[in-house]
């Protein structure tokens, strides 16, 4: 064990985790909207829209995140048509490629989590709203969505942790996140074990925080 290396690389890795957290929060934010949109399509009565939403979620849950990033970054980057379109302004940047891949990926899982939450809401809640003369729209926004969010908290907490781990793949498209900087330090020091252990501990620390925040929220919003 090279303790000097551990002490020297710790601040660099800590600094790099800002990029990791930024990637995570932006992707989760966008992914939440994607997830909500597709989960509504799923519980909607329109069969075709439901099928499309299912196809989306099945594809993104059935393939590795790494493949998804590579298609978006390296795959689309080689297509002339895309390079000449307005999309290129976004896809040119590794950061946005990673965010798009992460958001679409977490969106797929989120849509599943929300869908099952919507479907397990007791009909009584909705009926109660209806009998009080509350308009359908209001029932949806004020009753169904809040209950669904509460129901989904534990599963969504897991999803946040999975996504935190997923952001480590940003390093495969040249981003200098926590894993990217760890790899960089290794490429000059040739000491993978020490560096990966520190990087791993930092990830673990974040997991721990996320886990406990979700637990706290679960308690706070329990019925």
């Amino acid at each position: 064990m090279d303790f000097d290396l551990i002490i020297n690389s710790f601040p660099k890795l800590l600094f790099a985790s800002i990029t990791t957290l930024k990637l995570l929060s932006v992707s989760l934010f966008i992914g939440l909207f994607i997830g909500l949109f597709f989960s509504i399509l799923r519980v909607n009565n329109n069969i075709i829209l439901g099928k499309i939403a299912y196809g989306y979620s099945y594809t993104f849950r059935g393939t590795p995140l790494l493949v998804q990033i590579f298609i978006i970054y390296y795959g689309f980057g080689q297509v002339e048509l895309i390079r000449e379109s307005f999309l290129w302004a976004i896809l040119k940047e590794p950061y946005w490629c990673a965010v798009i891949a992460f958001a679409l990926n977490t969106g797929a899982y989120t849509s599943e989590i929300l869908r099952s939450a919507f479907q397990t809401i007791k009909p009584g809640f909705i009926e109660a709203g209806k009998s009080l003369g509350v308009p359908n729209k209001l029932i949806f926004y004020k009753i169904q969505i809040p209950i669904a969010i509460r129901q989904s908290l534990p599963a969504y907490g897991n999803e946040i942790i999975l996504m935190l781990k997923g952001t480590s793949l940003a390093s495969t498209v040249t981003l200098m996140d926590l894993t990217g900087v760890a790899k960089y330090i290794i490429s000059t020091t040739f000491k993978p074990i020490e560096v990966f252990i520190i990087a791993g501990s930092i990830y673990l620390f974040f997991t721990f925080i996320i886990h406990n925040v979700i637990k706290f929220l679960e308690k706070k919003y329990s019925f």
């Binding site: 390296y74 080689q78 590794p94 495969t172 040249t174």
Partner: protein
């Protein structure tokens, strides 16, 4: 507990059954993603200058060899971990690497160059044809200044953990916006896509890519050698001291260094290195 004992035993056996059947063979690590130095063909076979040279050197040494594929970013750690005994992967001999491993004498020159896509404003950069950073002098300084100006504000792409990256980060060409990739193939892809304004690698890596892809990649600026670019490409080996100079492994490592040096001498004398270089690079890069 019996079942756990059995399972544990089974686990150990399955591990130890793979105890190297190749103990008496020299294992050589290569990347297989740096054409024309080393790469893979459509049937998954390793090919390229260094693969053929490795076979030739092994014949001179008179021992059987196995060529092991290893990602570039794990190359030196894997050597130290004894996953293989030697590296032949277009690895330049540099002082930085010499701190952790040792090298045979050089067998080929790697000439580095910047490359851009046709139409880039970097084309027509006025510099000498080649600069040697070890020599220094006003000519070199002037060229570096020109390059510093040209690279300012540009995204410069290169492979992670290479002499090229070291050079770009050395400060010789100012503060450069460097983007690093796992393989040279990826660098090439992003140079062509336009995500990279300019790339730095072995000149042959670009000419090989331009030729095979038909993409208008052009070399610009001088060719680089010396300084951060090291002193040619050699066989990377474990330092005998790593396992203890008196240990069996340490002695073996020291003997391997001698054997490679001798084999390279012979291959050079017989013209084998030149012949392979011309075949793969189109010119004699042997040294």
């Amino acid at each position: 507990m019996n079942i756990f004992k059995k399972l544990g035993l089974g686990l150990l056996i399955s591990l130890f059954l793979t105890i190297s059947a190749n103990a008496d063979k020299i294992r050589i690590g290569t990347e297989g993603a740096y054409p024309p130095w080393n790469s893979k063909d459509a049937s998954g076979k390793l090919i390229g200058f260094e693969v053929e040279l490795a076979w030739a050197l092994c014949r001179y040494i008179g021992q059987q060899c196995v060529i092991v594929e290893q990602d570039w970013d794990g190359m030196i750690p894997a050597l130290q971990m004894r996953k293989f005994d030697a590296i032949m992967a277009g690895m330049s001999i540099t002082d930085e690497r010499k701190k952790v491993i040792t090298f045979s004498q050089g067998y080929a020159d790697e000439v580095a160059s910047l490359a851009v896509m046709k139409g880039s404003d970097l084309e027509g950069m006025e510099t000498p044809e080649g600069i040697n950073l070890s020599l220094g002098g006003s000519g070199v300084n002037k060229a570096l200044k020109t390059i510093t100006g040209a690279l300012a504000g540009k995204t410069v792409c290169t492979q992670t953990g290479t002499i090229h990256q070291n050079f770009l980060e050395s400060g010789d060409v100012g503060k450069v916006n460097v983007r690093t990739y796992k393989t040279q193939d990826d660098v090439n892809l992003d140079l062509a896509s336009g995500r990279c304004d300019v790339a730095l690698a072995a000149a042959v890596a670009f000419t090989d890519y331009a030729e095979k892809s038909g993409k208008p990649v052009v070399l610009v600026g001088p060719t680089f050698s010396g300084g951060a670019f090291g002193n040619g490409v050699g066989v990377g080996l474990r330092q005998a001291s790593q396992m203890g100079e008196d240990s069996a492994q340490g002695k073996r490592d020291a003997a391997l260094l001698k054997a490679f040096n001798k084999a390279i001498d012979q291959a050079r004398k017989d013209g084998v290195i030149s012949r392979l270089a011309i075949k793969h690079f189109g010119f004699d890069a042997s040294m």
